[in-house]
């Protein structure tokens, strides 16, 4: 069984975290270096596991590894495989989209009702900001060459200059 095989491979927390980081790079188009720089990797991982459980998190990581294997280093293919194995999957899709939003804005969103009916209603599954630091570390702000409102201000008068934004 495929699932069983990968679970055996990703034994340690460290290994799982590393796959979660790889997945996050693909979902956000920020580099591993930049994601590490937010200081939020571990916090996000444990927050999500806390809500959905270790088993479901493993399913996500396994699905990602499958997508990677099937894409065999082709970026376009990888994106398609992510849609097949994660984003269009009724169980893993909503969680994957939550992972994206968490990176960009620092919040967990309560899973859709249909998901909760099918896969269980965790008490911790409420919409909340992971932490005050998570809010200020959201990737949305550097994406638009700005800063989170109320933090990391660029200094007096900087707002008079044009932003530096180019397509990625």
């Amino acid at each position: 069984m495929v699932l069983h095989k990968y679970l055996l491979i990703m034994k340690t927390h460290h290994e799982k975290l590393s796959v979660f980081l790889d997945l996050s790079v693909v979902l956000t188009a920020f580099s591993a270096y930049q994601l590490h720089g937010t200081g939020q990797l571990e916090a996000y991982y444990t927050t999500i596991v806390d809500i959905i459980g270790d088993q479901t998190m493993s399913e996500i990581l396994v699905a990602f590894n499958t997508a990677k294997t099937e894409a065999s280093s082709d970026q376009k293919q990888l994106e398609q495989q992510i849609r097949i194995h994660l984003l269009s999957n009724d169980k893993l899709g909503p969680i994957t989209r939550n992972i994206i939003k968490m990176w960009f804005i620092g919040s967990w969103y309560q899973l859709p009702n249909i998901w909760r009916e099918a896969y269980g209603k965790s008490e911790k599954d409420q919409t909340f900001v992971v932490s005050s630091i998570a809010y200020t570390e959201g990737l949305l702000w550097p994406t638009i060459d700005s800063h989170p409102p109320g933090a990391k201000a660029p200094g007096y008068g900087t707002w008079a200059n044009p932003p530096k934004i180019s397509e990625v």
């Binding site: 630091i133 200094g155 008079a160």
Partner: protein, 629 residues
């Protein structure tokens, strides 16, 4: 700035004889306390909020609450306080026909449902205000005579001019006087400049100005040309050399963060794009800056967690003899004690809604029956579009520039004047952007990775939101009332709001919508403004619907006038009925024009200080005479 801790306990406060008791530590109460303390009078401020915010660490807790709050509304930094509740926009819901909204602190009768808020904490609503500080126009003071609308003030603009200057000093105004030219009358002394230079216009302002400046509009038959100009604001910038001649030869010194210890913070705005709800570095003026100076004098005490509950009148002299207050133990506790505080003179500075609420709860409708009536606010119509180019939206202070050319003119005989803000924070106020954009792009547009990032830029960095702040005239039917049926946890009556947007204002709103369309056309911007019939602020006028927002510029509830039959207070904000009582703040204003109310109410409070000092002199000399007898 450093200050002494003068938060007193109840035992100390109730054992002491104060000259003046002030209800509320917002800008009105703080200015009056500071000015009276200079003459050595003993003053007690009653504050309903918990009062943990006079230290840097207390303030930073507010900031952290804001960061971790899911809803980042105006009162997000403050914990819910059932003992001194405050209105929150997140609590507002559409009116069901036939019954008032009673679920949250404000009971709303409608027919217009407003999402206005205010804050019941140390510093009052200046804690979340945007700190835009335009003066009212000379024409606003006799608008009835001039345009046949609203009411004339019992004082002239010229009488308020020196007090406007005091208020601009107190609030540390940055701005450019030479851009404030929409009055046909002399509005400033020759050569006058604001304490600090204008805040630089944002890049977004510049993108808009490039294409909008010079646009001709037709407003009720008058042709006007539009120009994007900066707003004066109470925010630390670069001191203006030319201000020296208005400041005894000294350069203006910006007032930094409030703290009990040395704190190098708040000297200059850093562009946090978060003036509302909370400036993280305290570069924005808030009333704690004035309060800290009052406390430093040694004459001012503040009693926190204490809600003024009833004003007691001496049946013989008709003077205020005492205020009954309820002091609660803490936010989560229902426990409280009821106590009575006396003084020679009393000042209610709790804001337009709370002043009226307290008086009405005390059975004091005023001999004119105008207490709580003439409730005004600035209704806002938001219009929003997407510019063809990246304009750097979400950078700078919340607002640096806008359009003021339609603040005055003969058209005011027909329709309301208005002012337009360019919101540097984008569509947030209207749509919840940028969070809602992210949700839409991920959950509905099914994007991730690079496509997601590019789409975020496209949807956010080109946003333009125009906030049209429309004039509203006094109408006695728009009012605050109380009813023993609706009380808070301490048993204090909650304010009941009855409000309708007058046709005069609706005409202005309809015109503002039309003008936005012209502006968006000039800019080549896509107009995304939509107003849903299910919106709580939805109003239909002449076949078009509008979602109207509250402006938090509450006024008129203890209106000022020429005698006891047409008003609650005189031009000095002194009660006609009770000779040792002042009701201060925007509640005294007969009209509000198109100016954010704070600067004007601050000027009125400086004016009241002169009258209060005169009264106290008499009270003291009469006391000395009675002692000698």
């Amino acid at each position: 700035m450093r200050h002494k801790n003068r938060i007193v306990d109840h035992k100390t406060a109730f054992a002491k004889n104060y000259d003046v008791v002030i209800v509320g530590s917002g800008i009105s109460g703080s200015i009056i306390a500071k000015e009276l303390s200079k003459k050595g009078y003993d003053i007690l401020i009653l504050e309903a909020g918990p009062g943990k915010d006079l230290t840097l660490s207390g303030y930073e807790k507010y900031l952290n609450n804001f960061y971790s709050a899911v809803s980042k509304d105006n009162n997000a930094p403050y914990k819910r306080n059932p003992n001194a509740p405050m209105p929150r926009s997140v609590d507002v819901k559409k009116l069901e026909s036939g019954k008032p909204n009673t679920d949250s602190y404000l009971v709303q009768n409608g027919p217009f449902i407003s999402d206005f808020t205010y804050s019941r904490v140390v510093g009052g609503t200046t804690m979340h205000f945007e700190s835009k500080t335009p003066r009212m126009l000379p024409e606003d003071f006799n608008i009835l005579t001039r345009y046949g609308r609203g009411l004339d003030w019992p004082l002239k603009y010229e009488e308020l001019m020196p007090y406007y200057r005091k208020a601009e000093f107190e609030m540390g105004v940055s701005g450019d006087v030479s851009s404030q030219t929409f009055s046909n009358e002399k509005a400033y002394e020759d050569g006058y400049v604001f304490p600090m230079q204008e805040m630089p216009p944002s890049y977004l302002d510049q993108c808009v100005a490039k294409k909008v400046n010079g646009t001709k509009i037709n407003i009720a038959g008058e042709i006007r040309s539009l120009k994007i100009r900066t707003f004066p604001q109470g925010r630390n910038g670069i001191p203006n050399e030319d201000y020296k001649k208005f400041n005894n030869g000294e350069l203006f010194r910006p007032v930094g963060a409030v703290s009990q210890h040395q704190a190098e913070e708040g000297e200059r705005c850093q562009g946090n794009n978060n003036c509302t709800p909370i400036c993280p570095v305290q570069a924005k003026y808030d009333a704690r800056k004035t309060l800290a100076q009052a406390l430093e004098s040694g004459c001012v005490d503040i009693l926190t967690r204490t809600v003024a509950s009833r004003v007691v009148i001496d049946p013989v002299t008709q003077k205020v003899s005492a205020i009954v207050c309820k002091s609660y133990k803490d936010l989560d506790s229902k426990e409280y004690t009821s106590e009575t505080i006396t003084a020679k003179l009393f000042v209610l500075a709790a804001n337009a809604v709370e002043n009226a609420r307290l008086m009405l709860a005390s059975g004091l409708n005023s001999s004119s029956d105008l207490m709580g009536r003439n409730l005004m606010d600035h209704p806002y119509l938001l219009t929003w579009g997407l510019l063809p180019e990246i304009a750097g939206t979400t950078r700078g202070t919340i607002c640096t520039s806008g359009i003021s050319d339609i603040r005055n003119g003969d058209f005011r005989t027909e329709q309301a004047a208005f002012a337009v803000d360019i919101h540097n924070d984008g569509w947030g106020w209207a749509t919840g952007s940028p969070t809602t954009n992210l949700e839409d792009i991920v959950d509905n547009k099914n994007k991730f990775g690079k496509d997601l990032r590019n789409e975020l830029v496209h949807q956010i960095s080109k946003q333009l939101l125009l906030a049209n702040m429309v004039e509203m005239m006094p109408d006695p039917c728009n009012r605050i009332t109380v009813n023993p049926k609706y009380v808070d946890q301490l048993g204090n009556p909650r304010p009941i709001v009855t409000m309708q947007i007058p046709e005069y204002t609706m005409k202005g709103i309809a015109y503002a919508r039309q003008m936005s369309r012209q502006i968006f056309q000039r800019l080549g911007a896509e107009d995304y403004s939509v107003y849903g019939t299910d919106d709580y602020g939805y109003v239909k006028y002449k076949g078009e619907g509008y979602a109207i927002r509250g402006g938090n510029h509450l006024a008129g509830t203890h209106i000022m006038g020429t005698d006891a039959t047409n008003s609650v207070v005189d031009a000095k904000q002194k009660s006609w009925d009770h000779s040792n009582l002042y009701l201060v703040g925007a509640g005294s204003m007969p009209t509000i024009g198109t100016s954010n109310t704070t600067l004007t109410l601050a000027a009125l409070c400086f004016k009241s200080v002169d009258a209060i000092l005169e009264d106290l002199k008499h009270l003291h000399s009469s006391k000395q005479i009675s002692n000698q007898l």
